[in-house]
Amino acid sequence: MSKFIAYGLRALVAAAMAAPIYWVFVIATGYHGAAYSIPPVWRPLFHWAPFLFVWTHTPWARYVLNSVVISASTIILVVVTSALAGYALAELKFPGNSMYFYVTLGVMMLPQQALLVPQYVVMYHLHLLNTYTGLIIPFAASTSGIFLFRQFFMKLPVSYREIARLEGVSTLTYLRRVAVPLARPAVATTVLLTFISSWNQFQWPLIMTVSSQLQPIELALSHYMQAYQSHWRELTAAALIALLPILIVFALTQRHIVSAVAGGEVTQKD
């Protein structure tokens, strides 16, 4: 009996959590004025016409492309820098190794909101304001990425590296051919987590760009939101554009994402 109640409760909670996202569909694909119905509409009608209208009357393709370019570049850079630093921390002896561990950890402790002004100044002086580079490079290294790779590389048998040493294989070759291919779970986790945080970027581009040519989707959406106040069908249709890639990626990899967030790496959970 108590199982039954728990089951019902769980279903209720899950439904409540998903409801707002569900209503994006309902309103975006509903009839005109569905958002103003009392009581609210419950069912989506799958009218895609308004969605297509929104897609065509604003250069969303450009914004999506911006987001894709920024996310993809950030992902590649994060994987590279994390693999390199993670390997150095895990396998190499050099003075400052443990200090760099704390340097990496310390970045996570810095409150992002408090750094915006000096970061803006730095970006200004590096001429990175209003550039793609400025939206990518500051996120090219990640604490969690480095720790993930470090953790993974520490699990590789020492003899793997020693065999390579005996055979005269260089560190970079060893990394490229052995260590990173064996750390595929760490790569996957880093890619997923970086994609999510990168795609969802809002405040940084808000401050660091002026040109609409560079706007990633979230920023464009917030401008659209100001312009189309209370045009709920258009707004939700636009929101759907930003949401869909995330929803698709999440649907395909949710087990991995959840365990990545929980445990720091992709593992098979019970």
Binding site: I27, Q113, M225, V258
Partner: protein
């Protein structure tokens, strides 16, 4: 050791460093040196990013806060605590601290408790059908982009047509003004934040619960400890490190909430932070002061205050935790 010895072809490369260039270097030291250089080479890319975009600005922040300084002017003068004294005479600054405090004091405990409850619920029912789906749906909001989901929440909070008031109506409760009400705007943002972040903490709690030693739970059950007692006396102490981590993380995150305040309150209700500054938190004020009103120094002073607040809070939490957290 410096004896000349016949070496194989490969070895001659090393003898150059071992004997010729740096005669005091033994082969091993040469190897250690190489490993050191390779190590520095490998950390360099990330180190540069960290230094230029994080540690550098963090240090620079101190400088700006104590100077009268303008990004576009070439000169800056040391003004000591002037920026801070201007700050404390701004009512909106105190309002923002108050708002932030109100926001954090409500959101952190509610999110933590709710996350713990959800984690327990999901764990208890994990073997019933749809366990994975439920967990995914609870977590889903956390990965969604804030602006995109804020749009639907603005509709939900719409006083006339929104879902929130429809639910209140269904429950025969009085209707609220939500985002347009001075009293309910910040709580509306809180509701959004709880919805958006509770999944993350739930998953963290779930991970903590999954590491509970089975034998301990079984032993407790055989001793007849169950229900509330089991939770209070066994589970809670065992997961206290996770709880501490969740509270610290939630505090740091909520103290810096920006995006949802900006988007939820920036709509038809005037500039973000309204109505009547009721949702102006420190992060929002820092942003507006610097990038709307271009008072960089003042904004930096505020940033420094926020920095100090977060640091103090984390330390206080750490001190409390040292007394209460049970580490296995």
């Amino acid at each position: 050791m410096n004896r000349r010895v016949p070496l194989s072809e490969d070895a001659r490369v090393n003898s150059a460093t071992g004997g010729g260039l740096l005669p005091w270097l033994s082969w091993w030291n040469a190897y250690a040196l190489r490993e050191t250089l390779v190590g520095y080479g490998l950390i360099l890319p990330s180190l540069l990013v960290f230094l230029v975009f994080y540690y550098g600005p963090a240090i620079f922040l101190m400088y700006i806060a104590f100077f009268h300084w303008n990004i576009f002017a070439s000169q800056s003068t040391f003004v000591g605590l002037h920026n801070f004294s201007v700050l404390i005479h701004q009512p909106v600054f105190w309002q923002s601290l108050l708002n932030t405090g109100y926001y954090v004091v409500l959101v952190v405990p509610v999110t933590t408790l709710l996350a713990l409850a959800l984690a327990l619920l999901l764990r208890e029912t994990r073997n019933l059908r749809g366990g994975g789906l439920s967990q995914a749906l609870v977590f889903l909001p956390h990965v969604t982009p804030v602006v995109a989901t804020s749009i639907i929440w603005v509709w939900i909070f719409d006083p006339t047509f929104g879902l929130a008031n429809a639910v209140l109506h269904f429950l025969h409760l009085p209707q609220l003004g939500w985002l347009s009400s001075v009293h309910w705007a910040l709580p509306s943002v809180m509701i959004y934040t709880v919805w958006h972040s509770v999944g993350l903490y739930t998953v963290l709690f779930l991970a903590g619960l999954s590491t509970l030693p089975k034998q301990v739970l079984e032993a407790a059950q055989m001793d007849g400890v169950r229900g509330w007692m089991l939770f209070r006396r066994i589970i809670l102490p065992l997961i206290s490190p996770i709880t501490f981590f969740v509270i610290v993380l939630a505090t740091i995150n909520t103290m810096q909430t920006f995006s949802q305040i900006y988007t939820l309150t920036g709509g038809p209700h005037g500039g973000a932070g309204g109505p009547a500054f009721s949702t102006t938190t420190d992060s929002l004020l820092i942003y507006q002061t610097a990038f709307l009103y271009l008072h960089f120094s003042l904004s930096s002073a505020m940033s420094l205050v926020l920095f100090a607040l977060i640091l103090t809070l984390t330390l206080v939490q750490k001190l409390i935790a040292d007394r209460m957290v049970f580490y296995r």
